[in-house]
Amino acid sequence: MVAPRDITVLLGNWGRGDEAALNQLLPLVYAELRRVAARQLRNERPHHTLQPTALVHEAYLRLVDQRRADWQNRAHFFGVAARVMRRILVDHARRHGASKRGEGVSCLSIDEAKDVAASSEVPILALDHALDRLEKVDAELARVVELRAFGGLTIEETAQVLSVSPSTAKRDWRTAKAWLNRELGSGARP
């Protein structure tokens, strides 16, 4: 198990641009999110939905050594958490989509494909793909979307994570939305 201290170091390294640190962080944050979610589900009333923000906050408190924590750690952590949430949602959607067409069926007929396309999971997958494309065009915008859409961060939090002013974050968010809406708007894309 990695100690909270190490996580703080990893967060710092990632903040300084060390991508390898992110790869170490992802599974840790993922596992912690899962643990926290599982515990909340056990303790909460049935049908109570998880509050993602509370979830991420608790995971943060548990993982990061609070004596050494600072606002930068926190921002970096939320950045990682958003990345993790994106992966969880995308994988879940992928699975869900797969289960709709049945296990063991590796290819789809056209009709089945339409059904799958109409299901609610597809926007997530489509968004994921579109985000990948956006990242190639403008990585900064893609980060904003990831933090806002998947991490549930506010404009102010997003700005903090990205070390930009809230007005820049707000402007980026609007541009990114326009780009993505255009990208996703037409269902007839190849």
């Binding site: 599982a38 993602p52 969880i88 879940h92 699975r95 968004l127 403008d138 549930g152 541009t175 326009a178």
Partner: protein, 1007 residues
């Protein structure tokens, strides 16, 4: 789109959206000018910006519910994709090498794997990540797996253990070949003969499990395999319950929802074999298995399950309400079997047959009765043929079942069963040192072995019931060697530090029995409540001490004339008639097994070329030779071997001392550690390589070829090294180039020429050699010219460890008969005398001066570069620690430098740092100051944690002249054999195999 292009689009878009909607088109048109593409691009973004219905704006809500869904509901699926990668062929999980994926499902993947320790195929069921992440569930799972591992039955696919490696948790299962019963039934109903044979074995398996309180909960044709030999194996015993508690098991106890099925097909399958109480989610007992057994038996005979319905609800309804249709049973089904089926399929479990043994007996009766009753035929004309047919059937049946069940009984009473005990990665079996590392209690119920600890000191001891998966460390034992049991199986004896000790197996205080000098070489607890033990001390062989403690007495002494070096590995014969022991001789390959007659005091050699003998109650003497165990009939009364030894177990780990890692219980259970002969000539384990390791633990390869290297020393100029290499039974000294790949041989004597070191001017090599029969010190010019010069002529082996910088004195150590290992000082003739002159061997041999001597062991003494202090290892505190004394007036001061154990010190060449190997095997550094009025040492700090080879009593590392890197020795094979987790193999009923394979010839010869 280029970055530049996008920046322009973005800038224009962002500027435009700031404006009122009505002005935007005009603004874009004017800003874009003639760049029509730019205008269109921005316009399209503006259109999308206006599209409020864009789902991104709804995403936070959508995301909220999806998040909850994804985080809460996800089964293994999401976890797998994120945190586990499917294992690929060639990947290793502990000692298991993945061969192929057999299946995958919601409960993890199953792989065919190769057990590299035991050389056999196994199935690995890799646990899904939620198991590994949830300590509660993992603990629960481990407990269940432990219970299941106690199931040892020919008709139950065994659970060998639980393997944890790099965060991957896997169940190690017997790999069962052959089609499942489900597949056989899919081809149609089974012939009665075959169905009875399978049902009988199935009942037998259930009975064995029920006796242990284990319920299968998911008996069905898909969980039963039939090998081509006809042997039935029941799979996944109890796993339905093990998986229980997984998050998705909302209907706990319902196997269809929790079972460890491989595919979604069965996972979603109908509850065809579910008992009524299971369908009602009641608590379950063994009678649920009886129900399922009845279903399976019925299906074998009819080709269809008794309650199968179109849908799940149809099936459940039938299970709860309808009686099975017994008109579908073949006409020739014996009445007895029809009755049995009805009793198995009673809906109220209180009315149901309550034991699998009863079912088995019924089937046996049906098989045995020559004329089985069948249903009365409707026509009297058919009576005759039916009776005849039944008669014939009875005979055939009996013969078939007989063939199926008795072959082992005809050949041997019980087939030995083998299983492996794989220790947890965090608590590996410790196989360092020259002793046996495990012992099995005489009653065969417990195993004790060394685990964890370090490779240069002893280790803690783990006690483990032989049929359990986990062990219990014995308290207050940290540095044990050579554990052994008392005859009543209640005590464990062992060596620790400088004492022989014992501890109750149930736990309790450690009791010191007596002290000893030298290194331990085995002990054995006799029926007369005395313990016979051996040490490396050259003047004494076997010792004996009361098991209640007291003064030890010498039992044997090695004889110098036939070059006996030590007496080792005593094994007291039953009723104390004698003691088996090993005589180590000068030649590595010729130890002898001898016996001491305790009545007459006479001893005689029984086996030449063998070591570490034990007596087995079948009347055999078992001993080790070249990595295999051999057995020969033995008469413990007359102390004679009868006949020629036969190899019975191969690939048993041996130590260079001749110790073999095996133990045998009185009922005939063998436990051994598979592996190489440590340090043996040509053994792959002895191929080692040098690496540079810097202070961050980063390794750099050194290109010298892998060889059986001993300790090496870097030349004063830092360019070369000198090292002893074991080859074809001899160790010779070689000089190598640290930059290149070449080695040049320096010595050409046979025997042992080792522990070489450079004189400070780099011109000569000092080393030890046994060319005259005893290990004495010699020197030779590093360029190979001139004669070899003898430095010392002591009568006990002398090891060189350090040379003063002026080249005038050599420091070493020797194991003395009375005082153990002591530090010695030898005067060297002036270095200038050696240069160029091909002088004749010096006539003035150096007489060793005692430098540090006590009743404890002092060794590895190294002089500081300024020759003011001496660092050495000593066990005077009860464990090995590094000490420092002033030099040459060693009595004028004394400091203990290490705190957590320490041995094999070395000074940095600048004299400001002292290195050593700490108790965990890590290289450690202590900042020191030797220039002042007194010696000052800082607190020790770990340089790097990686454990490198430190095999025999020598410093197996060296420090580069600049003190920045360390020359370390690694095994060329995978990992360090001292720390690689080894497994133990348990062979139950081994004595039967022994009797069969090595028959006692006495009865034959007396005819």
């Amino acid at each position: 789109m280029t970055d530049e292009r996008w920046r322009r689009v973005k800038a224009l878009f962002e500027a435009t959206v700031e404006r009122p909607a009505g002005e935007r088109d005009a603004f874009v048109a004017s800003a874009a000018g003639e760049d029509d593409a730019l205008r269109r691009e921005v316009a399209s973004l503006l259109t999308s910006d206006n599209a409020d219905a864009g789902f991104l704006d709804r995403l936070s809500d959508l995301s909220e519910s999806l998040r909850a869904d994804a985080l809460a509901a996800p089964l293994a699926a999401v976890d797998e994709t994120l945190t586990t990668t499917a294992l690929v062929p060639g990947h290793r999980v502990g000692p298991y090498e993945i061969a192929a994926l057999l299946g995958a499902g919601s409960m993890g993947e199953v792989y065919r794997a190769w057990d590299t320790k035991l050389n056999r195929d196994v199935a690995l069921k890799v646990l899904p990540t939620p198991f590994a992440l949830d300590p509660d569930r993992l603990a629960r799972f481990t407990r269940e797996a432990q219970l299941l591992a106690t199931l040892n039955h020919p008709n139950i696919a065994a659970i060998y253990g639980l393997e944890e490696s790099n965060g991957t948790q896997a169940l190690v299962l017997e790999l069962v070949d052959g089609p499942t019963l489900a597949r056989r039934i899919a081809e149609g109903p089974l012939p009665l003969v075959e169905a009875l044979g399978i049902a009988r074995q199935l009942a037998d398996a259930l009975e064995a499990a029920h006796e242990k309180g284990i319920i299968h909960r998911d008996v069905k044709p898909a969980n039963v395999t039939i090998a081509s030999s006809g042997v039935v194996k029941v799979l996944d015993f109890g796993l339905a319950k093990v998986w229980d508690g997984a998050p998705q098991s909302s209907l706990s106890g319902s196997p269809r929802l929790t079972a460890a099925d491989l595919g979604a097909q069965t996972f979603l399958g109908t509850p065809t074999y579910m008992s009524p109480e299971q369908a009602r989610c009641k608590s379950l007992d063994k009678r649920t298995d009886i129900w399922s057994f009845g279903c399976v038996f019925y299906e074998m005979l009819t080709g269809r399950a008794p309650f199968a319905g179109e849908t799940v609800s149809d099936t459940l309804a039938a299970t709860l309400e309808r009686e099975p249709d017994d008109t579908l049973l073949p006409d020739d089904t014996p009445l007895q079997i029809r009755r049995l089926l009805r009793r198995c399929l009673e809906k109220d479990r209180d009315d149901r047959l309550d034991s699998a043994a009863a079912a088995r007996d019924e089937i046996d009766d049906a098989i045995a009765s020559p004329v089985s009753e069948t249903l009365p035929s409707g026509s009297s004309r058919r009576v005759g043929p039916i009776v005849l047919a039944t008669l014939a059937l009875g005979t055939v049946l009996a013969a078939f079942i007989g063939w199926l069940l008795t072959p082992p009984a005809l050949v041997a009473p019980v087939l030995p069963s083998r299983f492996a005990i794989v220790t947890a990665a965090a608590e590996p079996l410790n196989v360092s040192g020259g002793n046996r590392d495990l012992a099995v209690s005489p009653d065969g119920r417990h195993l004790v072995y060394r685990f964890g600890g370090s490779i240069t000191f002893g280790s803690p001891l783990m006690v483990r019931a032989i049929d359990r998966l986990d062990g219990r460390p014995l308290a207050d034992i940290a540095n044990a060697y050579a554990p052994f049991f008392s005859p009543d199986s209640q005590w464990i004896g062992f060596f620790e530090g400088t004492d022989l000790k014992k501890v109750p197996i149930a736990g309790g205080p450690v009791i010191t029995l007596c002290g000893f000098t030298g290194s331990p070489l085995g002990a054995s607890w006799g029926d007369d409540n005395t313990i016979t033990f051996a040490t490396s001390s050259p003047r004494t062989g076997l010792w004996r001490v009361s098991a209640d403690g007291g003064e030890a007495t010498v039992l044997t002494t090695p004889e110098p004339a036939p070059r006996e070096e030590s007496h080792a590995f005593p094994s007291v014969l039953p009723r104390g008639s004698g003691v088996l022991f090993t005589i180590a001789t000068g030649q590595a390959d010729s130890p002898q097994v001898a016996v001491l007659d305790l009545k007459t005091g006479q001893r005689k050699t029984l086996i030449r070329g063998g070591s570490d003998a034990r007596y087995v109650e079948t009347g055999h003497l078992v001993f080790a030779r070249a990595g295999s165990l051999r057995a020969v009939p033995f008469d413990p009364g007359r102390l004679e071997v009868l006949g020629d030894p036969v190899t019975i177990v191969e690939h048993v780990m041996m130590k260079a001392s001749g110790a073999a890692n095996y133990a045998v219980s009185r009922p005939g259970t063998l436990v051994y550690v598979p592996g190489e002969v440590a340090g043996a000539v040509g053994a792959s384990g002895a191929r080692r390589s040098f690496v540079w390791v810097d202070r961050k633990g980063h390794e750099d390869r050194i290109n010298l070829p892998p060889r059986a290297y001993g300790p090496a020393r870097i030349s004063p100029d830092g360019m070369g090294l000198v090292v002893g290499i074991l080859e074809k039974g001899n160790t010779e000294i070689w000089i190598g180039d640290l930059m290149g790949e070449a080695l040049r041989r320096l010595t050409f004597a046979s025997g042992m020429n080792g522990m070489p070191m450079w004189t400070p001017d780099g011109r000569r090599i000092i080393f030890m050699s046994d060319r005259t029969g005893v290990l004495n010190l010699y020197s030779q010019a590093a360029d190979g010219t001139g004669a070899v010069e003898r430095i010392s002529a002591g009568t006990t082996p002398e090891w060189p460890t350090s040379i003063t910088r002026d080249g005038r004195h050599l420091i070493g150590f020797s194991v003395r008969p009375t005082t153990g290992s002591d530090v010695l000082l030898f005067a060297l003739a002036g270095a200038e005398n050696h240069v160029g002159t091909s002088s004749s061997p010096s006539t003035s041999l150096s007489r060793a001066e005692l430098l540090v001597q006590s009743r404890f062991d002092e060794a590895f003494a190294e002089i500081s570069p300024d020759a003011r202090y001496l660092a050495y290892g000593s066990n005077e505190s009860g464990r090995d620690e590094v000490h420092v004394r002033p030099y040459p007036r060693v009595e004028s001061g004394h400091w203990q430098v290490s705190t957590g154990g320490g041995t094999r010190p070395a000074w940095a060449r600048n004299g400001r740092e002292l290195f050593y190997i700490d108790g965990s095997g890590a290289l450690t550094s202590v900042a020191v100051q030797t220039s002042g009025p007194t010696f000052i040492a800082a607190r020790p700090a770990t340089v790097f944690d990686t454990k490198y080879l430190q095999p025999n009593p020598a410093r197996h590392y060296d420090v580069s002249p600049d003190g920045k890197r360390f020359l370390m020795l690694k095994d060329s094979a995978a990992g360090d054999p001292n720390v690689a987790p080894a497994s133990m193999v348990v062979v139950e009923h081994w004595s039967d195999e022994l009797k069969q394979r090595v028959p006692d010839t006495r009865t034959v010869s007396r005819k």
